[in-house]
Assembly symmetry: C2
Homo-oligomer: 624 residues x 2
């Protein structure tokens, strides 16, 4: 196996400063006290969580960091409609992944999972996704599918698939998109026909199916959105079917071919190690599936569970890749010798310095650090709200209201995690390339690939515009007295109450308070527009509002980080050397100076009605 | 020839709305009156210029637009140290390129060129580069080399190469970079040894040489920076040598092998059709070259001519690719049917619309249009100053001062064209992908490739930080009474004098005036820092200043466009339909609202001393 030799000789491309992960989980969020040590997680303790995180980091360093670039070069190949080969190194990596039980960590304990809290899971996923996303996408829906089956599936479905998805000896694929039904899910045309035995026959074609066909496992289970003949039009008439590539024998092994066929593997900008395929169901013979659960036409609302998980996961992918790109650039900048100090520039004998000594390189690194630390804070904060809600799962009275608050905040942040992180990750990867100079453009270094890999994150699982529209419509009630925004503001204001204790951060606290008020005002303007019949304006501004909301949220969370760093410095209870904590404070100052400082003018641009768009139409753009 | 069949069946990926090119050249800049009809260009008229532009567009549509995606897939291969094959389709395209004489257009007339003005040339290059940059880079240095030889070469060198480079039967490569001497040119170690016959022997290795080895022409001429044993250290000790792959026979045909060898072809993020190679000189035997001109140690200042041309060309590449990406997205958005209007969203029977009808898609298209029109205006404005200076080539007195002014303005804008356009082009390509949704991520559409291809533009020919440093240091005298900035401000203020005539654009005029004053103030702060010994602050802020300066310049030029559009509407002397001109006005309003509006807060962030960077050092970043 030639590829394996190459694999073993390959240097790992994975870089991570795990101090930040630990700092954010344990110092900033204090998950030990607030999550792990609560009764809901009595099966765990801090040490176990750290062990699992460490295991993921070790696997990322030793396996994924080596497969990452090799798999990109190898790509996926379709040999026949049922055979798509993945990069050969992935066979080796997947075997280790199964052996270590990494897939099941976050699965329910009844299927052998550790039952770690969602916030710990996102920390782990950020490591794995950042090391080799194309690999991680193969088993990427598995645990989500286990939860989907747990919530909506029949007992038989749970028994058939849950264990296999946890091990994993099977992977799951979410099968929604069709060529005319991307963002417009309601137009899905794949047909489902009732069979006398209670099963359904599927007929139709799908596109852009991640991990839709591969040779890592012997069988694949598909969650397919399709429509019955007599179903209502639109999204209300979609049902979800559980379909396998091969029918299952009594022992769960693959039996008869179920006529799921691959029509092609897409050639993509990145994620080349993952097979994104076109699939047909029932084109070569009958393809049978079972309804997810008992009720037809519930498909979209069922898959909403998976979609929400996938949106958070997308933000975590973006964080992971941005983090890897940033640390790669930091490493490169420490190693690469080039140029002199500005004052010695004209002296040919002047000492040559590592490029990290140069002001603009430091600027780029601090820019990346602020963004990456901020994304990590955002992803973990959102996941932490979900975990906090779990700790109150059987709450009553006030605690029940608190649980509702946490759930609402987790919901609120879901589209922000997806859209803001994917947009920011792209700029981080760009900067990481720039730090590398010409070397950033060639495939010897991982950063150009990280950049290519991350681009899809702003598109899939609902484009970032759809996230922005979801934010302003479903989460913020189009500016009309949103409960979610009330909770959010309360969190920020409560946080700001401690400002007196941190005079070194006084400017930032003040900026944050001003920014929060300004954002409230902009949101209230949306409410006024709605009352005034100017609904289109709200949607026109939603992408810009999402960006502003993300800036503010990250500004808040970075300041929360800085406060924790300041405490660690003051208490002299530092796990790491002083420079780690100082770096946190520099990063927040950089972000406030270079990003949050522009929030006021961004919000002013949002709060005016843009008359142009009332007149602008297709004629104003060229036709070809 | 299988590839040729594929080529002929391929749809052209090239999209251009040539109205904008014509509008900017003839309506906004009025090059007919100010350039073409002046005595310096008496050999030309408007019709000839338009014919040449049209020829380039036709070639871009019919040839480059077909080779573009095929060549990316085929890539370049090294068969031996002297044989590197380019994508096969390029042989066919190159033959046509020679036949049409497209290379020589901008060459001096004595070598069969048309002698078109620089501003027309940039218009033409923006078309060709935007259609297939990887191809255009092969002959990309040819005409620059002709000018280099004309200015610095010996009579013999001119005779040997100028015709061959114009036809072209040979290509030129600029050979500077070494593995330890990228941005730090002074460290170049390639050796030149004097031979008794007046020639020099070259020994050394170079990297990242665009078009450094290929099979499009039988011979290649290299302009190699190298160092004599007894030369001073640093950039003052570099000489430029003219070296060919094969010695020239008396008739100019390739003779004996001159031991220029290829050590490898880089695997790159994009521009895969162009061979970026590592080269060795004199490793397998003696490699001879001649000194460019008569004087040693003048290499870097000689190549400055080529470098300045290459910097403008890089901006033009970026413009070309961004333009192609924007028009591709506009085309896609007109064709692609998906989704309903916001108000009909919940009705499954609602009419499905082309996505250009959706507000956020319109926003993305207008964002791209503003940026692309702005880049085009910037590239053409800078080139126009150069051409205006040529019209005054033998001026005396006041006209001579005017010539100096135009030259100074062209110089001032050179780094801005390079850095601002490459940075903006990247964001345009990103947006073009986003408009395409999932289809933007796959290679069926050209946008993901345009995005990959454009990334190098922010790095090569001096990274964008180096451009920013050049802007503040060499062009703006570190804020100390810069003559260039005085000229620039004068141009903007003179332009603003007509504001009374355009009440519809009153807000924009006012914003422009305010922004110009604010930029002046920020620049004056640099001068104060210099006096106060805070030179590092200036360099620390130079990237941000470049961005602000670019925003302002593009804001000015877009308003100049809008004024011309308004005039065309008012005079009813419109070459195109009304919507073209209205679109111009919408674009400028969009840019002022969403970009120029933030200039104030950007400049405030620049004008404070950033204490953080006095303390920040390598320890604040992780080491691996």
């Amino acid at each position: 196996m030639n590829d394996i030799k190459q694999f073993l000789n390959q240097n790992s491309s994975f870089r991570l400063d795990q101090r930040d992960l630990h700092f954010q989980l344990f110092d900033v969020l204090n998950v030990e006290q607030h999550i792990i040590n609560t009764p809901a997680f009595s099966h765990l303790n801090k040490e176990t969580c750290i062990q699992v995180i460490d295991l993921a980091i070790k696997f990322a360093r030793e396996y994924l960091g080596r497969s990452y670039q090799l798999a990109d070069k190898a790509g996926c190949n379709m040999l026949s409609p049922t055979e798509v080969t993945v990069p050969e190194v992935y066979q080796y990596v997947f075997a280790k992944f199964q052996e270590l039980g990494l897939c099941g960590i976050s699965a329910p304990m009844e299927y052998g999972g550790c039952g770690t809290p969602y916030v710990i899971n996102q920390a782990i996923y950020s490591v794995l996704y950042g090391a080799d996303p194309a690999f991680c996408i193969y088993p990427g829906f598995n645990i989500g599918a286990v939860y989907l089956l747990q919530k909506f599936g029949t007992e038989q479905q749970r028994q058939l698939y849950s264990q296999a998805l946890t091990t994993p000896t099977m992977t799951a694929a979410m099968v929604m998109t069709e060529s005319d039904a991307g963002s417009d899910v309601g137009l899905i045309r794949t047909k489902a026909l009732r069979e006398p035995d209670g099963r359904y026959r599927l007929e139709g074609s799908k596109i852009f199916i991640s991990s839709g066909m591969h040779n890592l496992t012997d069988n694949i289970v598909y969650f397919v959105l399709a429509r019955l003949d007599d179903a209502p039009l639109g999204t209300q008439g979609l049902s979800c079917f559980v379909v396998t590539k091969y029918a299952l024998n009594a022992d769960g092994s693959p039996g008869e071919y179920n006529h799921v066929s691959c029509d092609g593997v897409e050639k993509k900008m990145g994620l080349k190690g993952n097979a994104t395929v076109q699939l047909s169901f029932g084109q070569t013979g009958s393809c049978y599936g079972t309804l997810l659960g008992e009720k037809e036409n519930m498909g979209l609302s069922q898959l909403l569970l998976l979609m929400n998980l996938a949106r958070v996961a997308t933000g975590t992918y973006a964080l992971g890749l941005a983090s890897s790109a940033y640390y790669s650039a930091a490493d490169y900048a420490q190693q690469r010798i080039q140029g002199t100090s500005i004052r010695a520039m004209s002296s040919p004998k002047a000492e040559r310095l590592p490029i990290i000594a140069h002001l603009d390189v430091k600027r780029m690194l601090l820019d990346m650090r602020a963004k990456v630390d901020g994304m990590r804070a955002l992803v973990l904060k959102a996941a932490n709200y979900s975990s906090l809600a779990i700790t109150l799962h059987d709450a009553e009275g006030d605690a029940k209201a608190l649980k509702k608050k946490y759930e609402t905040l987790a919901d609120l942040l879901t589209p922000v995690v997806k859209a803001y992180c994917s947009d920011q990750a792209w700029t981080v990867c760009e900067t990481a390339i720039q730090v590398h100079g010409g070397y950033g453009y060639i495939s010897d270094f991982p950063v150009e690939q990280q950049c290519r890999d991350v681009k899809i994150m702003s598109i899939w699982e609902g484009t970032n515009y759809m996230q922005a529209a979801d934010l302003v419509r479903s989460k913020l009630s189009l500016g009309k007295s949103s409960r979610a925004f009330g909770y959010f503001k309360e969190e920020v204001i409560n946080f700001c109450e401690q400002k007196q204790q941190f005079p070194q951060l006084a400017d930032q606290f003040e900026q944050l308070e001003t920014a929060t008020t300004a954002l409230s005002t902009a949101l209230a303007t949306f409410g006024d527009w709605l009352s005034g019949g100017e609904m289109e304006q709200i949607y026109l501004m939603s992408t810009r509002f999402m960006n502003a909301f993300g800036d503010l949220t990250v500004g808040w969370l970075l300041l929360e980080n800085a406060v924790a760093a300041q405490k660690a410095i003051a208490d002299n209870q530092r796990a790491y050397d002083l420079s780690f904590y100082q770096g946190k404070i520099y990063a927040v100052k950089y972000f406030y100076r270079n990003t949050l400082a522009h929030l006021g003018s961004k919000l002013r641009a949002i709060a005016d009605i843009d008359e142009t768009f009332k007149e602008l139409n297709a004629d104003h753009f060229p036709q070809f």
